[in-house]
């Protein structure tokens, strides 16, 4: 059954001088447990789409359904992870990871313990009393993952969560996020402009064209690399052929753009 369904979603921004259509006629569905990446050139409305799914932005047209319920405010079953960690510098790691629980009025002992457990799984239990400024970029993004997972969402929205990290940390974190999400059976939507990352992490890749953002093509990632960790997937022979295919399509979009 589809956990998430988008029906002809469109978004237009209005300013004094113009009306800009950022997204047009986006229809897609994501099944439970799937990992879907949304790939596209910058400015194609990827982040806008994520904000709409998160319920932070009401689309100008179309509907978003989670579990067959229309989304028009942030849904408790959806977690959102931003480009940078955005940990609150004035809160300890403890207070940061329990922020979602506090805001959702779920600060029960059991929920807090689950959050601690997650922090432990991710290998950062020793940071619990520290402040974000005492942690490295990669550690902070891991804490941000725990914060997002602490409210036990079914689906995670990842808005280029690795883009602010150095390459090595990024590769390591891809593995960690991928395995953590799989282990907990989470559904995920990743927004990225990194083709390799999209292939290595997901089951499906949706290619958006820009101006306005439309679904250009959908790729199925070969079974052979789906179940591998992102780092291993990158070494697999099928990886480069898939990369090639998506690369060509992206070139296509850019050519269309120039015409």
């Amino acid at each position: 059954m589809a956990l998430l369904q988008l029906k002809s979603v469109g978004q237009t921004y209005f300013s004094k001088t113009s009306a800009t259509t950022a997204l047009e006629d986006i229809t897609l569905s994501v099944n439970e447990g799937e990992f879907v990446s949304i790939l596209g050139p910058s400015g194609c409305g990827k982040s806008t789409l994520l904000s709409i799914i998160a319920g932070l932005l009401i689309p100008t047209s179309g509907t978003v359904m989670v579990n067959n319920q229309q989304v028009n405010h942030p849904h408790p079953k959806i977690g959102y992870m931003l480009q940078q960690d955005y940990l609150f510098p004035w809160k300890t790691i403890h207070d940061n990871i329990t922020l979602g629980l506090k805001l959702r009025n779920q600060l029960s002992h059991q929920h807090v313990q689950t959050a601690f457990q997650l922090l432990k799984e991710i290998g950062l239990e020793h940071t619990i009393g520290k402040y974000p400024s005492e942690l490295s970029g990669g550690m902070r993004q891991r804490v941000a993952l725990v914060r997002t997972l602490a409210t036990q969402p079914k689906m995670l929205l990842l808005d280029e969560p690795f883009s602010a990290l150095d390459y090595q940390t990024k590769l390591k974190l891809e593995d960690l996020v991928s395995s953590t999400l799989k282990e907990h059976g989470k559904t995920a939507i990743l927004v990225t402009h990194d083709i390799g990352e999209a292939i290595a992490m997901s089951d499906h890749v949706i290619l958006l064209s820009s101006n306005p953002g439309r679904i250009f093509r959908t790729f199925k990632i070969p079974e052979s690399i789906r179940n591998l960790l992102p780092f291993e997937a990158r070494q697999h022979p099928d990886f480069s052929s898939t990369f090639q295919k998506i690369w060509e399509e992206l070139e296509h979009i850019e050519q269309n753009d120039h015409e």
């Binding site: 932070l56 942030p74 408790p76 609150f88 510098p89 004035w90 805001l103 400024s133």
Partner: protein
């Protein structure tokens, strides 16, 4: 071997820092002492008018006199109390007003020109009106202290509220947080440094407000001592009050700085 050299260099470096710090202190002390010495000498020899500029010895004599007869204490306490109350309330109300503006963008657009005008206007000019409206008492002095700092606090804190990174709000909203929670969890704590720094500005401003207030109405306080000294042409009294104010204001400022270092350790 290499490590030994590094250690030695490090020690030399630390020593150089220490030496510079000591030199700065020495020069500061020298300026302080020579100022008062020069003041004393020029007053003694009549290079400056001793009636007008008094002298450190006369001031300290008066100071001791006032302490021993207990009359100084009450003046200092009253002015200090008024100032502390004035600047805490000024900062508090200013922050509340800023919160209101943040809450309602409509209100903030409506009030924008009024705030600009009020900020530019010299608030002390409202003194006479305050006295008539509130009465020639403690209340109008406090009001003066608040009035002088509230608008600038509002403007500074509101600007800080607006400059908070929207992504923090996005985090709170993605967890279903309300506007109230956004304010409590993000806006207010993120702007703590700005609020504290407006507190620093307000320390100075409140002294101005309270002293002017006391000029106008009071029968007690350091402002009253200044105006009284002026009326009876006792400039020793005026200068002594001035020096006490300088010391008090410095202590308060240092206090706020201490508070700052304690409260906003982790904001960066």
């Amino acid at each position: 071997m290499n490590k030994m050299i590094t250690n030695k260099k490090h020690l030399e470096f630390l020593l150089a820092i220490k030496k510079e710090k000591r030199n700065i202190r020495i020069v500061q002390l020298l300026i302080f002492l020579s100022f008062f010495l020069l003041w004393e000498i020029s007053s003694q020899y009549g290079w400056i008018n001793p009636l007008l500029f008094s002298s450190p010895s006369k001031i300290s004599q008066l100071f001791l006199e006032k302490i021993s007869d207990g009359s100084l204490y009450i003046h200092v306490v009253i002015t200090l109390g008024e100032t502390i109350l004035g600047f805490i309330l000024g900062t508090l109300f200013g922050t509340l007003l800023a919160a209101l503006l943040w809450w309602s963008p409509f209100l903030s657009k409506v009030l924008d020109p009024y705030l600009v005008v009020l900020n530019a206007m010299p608030k002390v000019a409202l003194g006479p009106i305050l006295i008539v409206a509130i009465g020639p008492n403690f209340g109008s002095i406090i009001a003066m202290g608040i009035l002088i700092s509230i608008i600038i606090t509002t403007l500074v804190v509101y600007t800080a509220f607006q400059n908070v990174d929207d992504n923090y709000i996005k985090v709170v909203r993605s967890f279903g947080g309300s506007k109230k929670q956004c304010f409590k969890e993000v806006i207010l704590p993120a702007c703590f440094p700005s609020i504290i720094s407006s507190l620093k500005v307000n320390v100075g401003l409140s002294w101005v407000g309270v002293i002017v207030g006391e000029f106008l109405v009071s029968k007690q306080g350091l402002g009253y001592m200044i105006i009284y000294g002026f009326q009876v042409f006792n400039f020793t009294l005026v200068l002594m009050s001035l020096l006490i104010i300088a010391v008090m204001a410095t202590i308060m400022y240092q206090g706020v700085e201490y508070l700052e270092s304690k409260l906003i350790k982790h904001h960066m």
